[in-house]
């Protein structure tokens, strides 16, 4: 359980950490995407760019995990329920996309559509669950 005896600037530091990690993620995503779009011939270059895109996301995930960990048990419960809701909603989204594709309504579902939907659904779930508990 988080104690309120923590330093008053710790919240600001955590926010700075999240913003910094997000900027890093965004920067690595843009760089990796743009350079991969040029279809470099070297497998090493492509592999490096792919790794850059993936590992640029990790600090943001860790910053979010640290934020959740630093909160009190009630806030952690909200995040736990929100994750469960987001998991179910994402599964439903993927099933729907799969069947719409089989039915011929959708030509092709990009993987990036799925992870972006996952993040959006997670965000919505946090809002909905927070509202329910408050």
């Amino acid at each position: 359980m988080a104690e309120n005896s923590e330093r008053p600037d710790s919240g600001l530091r955590r926010l700075a950490l999240i913003v910094g990690a997000f900027v890093l993620w965004f920067a690595t995503y843009v760089v990796a995407t743009r350079l991969l779009h040029r279809h470099p011939e070297s497998a090493v270059v492509r592999g490096t760019l792919a790794a850059l895109g993936v590992f640029g996301f990790v600090p943001w995930l860790m910053a979010i995990a640290r934020l959740i960990q630093s909160q009190d048990e009630f806030e952690r419960r909200i995040h736990l329920v929100a994750l469960a809701v987001a998991f179910g909603a994402t599964a439903l989204f993927i099933f729907a996309a799969d069947f719409l594709q089989r039915a011929g309504f959708v030509d092709y579902v990009l993987l990036r559509t799925i992870w972006m939907a996952m993040i959006v659904l997670w965000w919505i779930a946090i809002m909905v669950v927070s509202r329910f508990y408050r």
């Binding site: 988080a2 309120n4 048990e73 009630f74 329910f132 508990y133």
Partner: protein
């Protein structure tokens, strides 16, 4: 679970935020416990009991559906 948190807090003349600060949680957490939307875990339940200088079962009791 049912609880007497709101009554005990009123007796002490504490706000939700004040009680939250004493036990290390947010005002929203105290509100959720008081309205029965959230049942606290054992450590938080014991901290709440400690600040009111009562036993846990004097504050929390099982509801009909528990």
């Amino acid at each position: 679970m049912k609880n007497r948190l709101r009554v005990l807090r009123a007796e002490e003349n504490w706000t939700q935020a004040e009680l939250g600060m004493r036990v290390g949680v947010s005002r929203q957490a105290i509100h959720a416990i008081e309205t029965g939307k959230y049942d606290p875990g054992l450590p938080l339940g014991m901290k709440i009991a400690r600040v009111f200088q009562r036993r846990v079962e004097e504050i929390f009791e099982l509801g009909d559906n528990d």
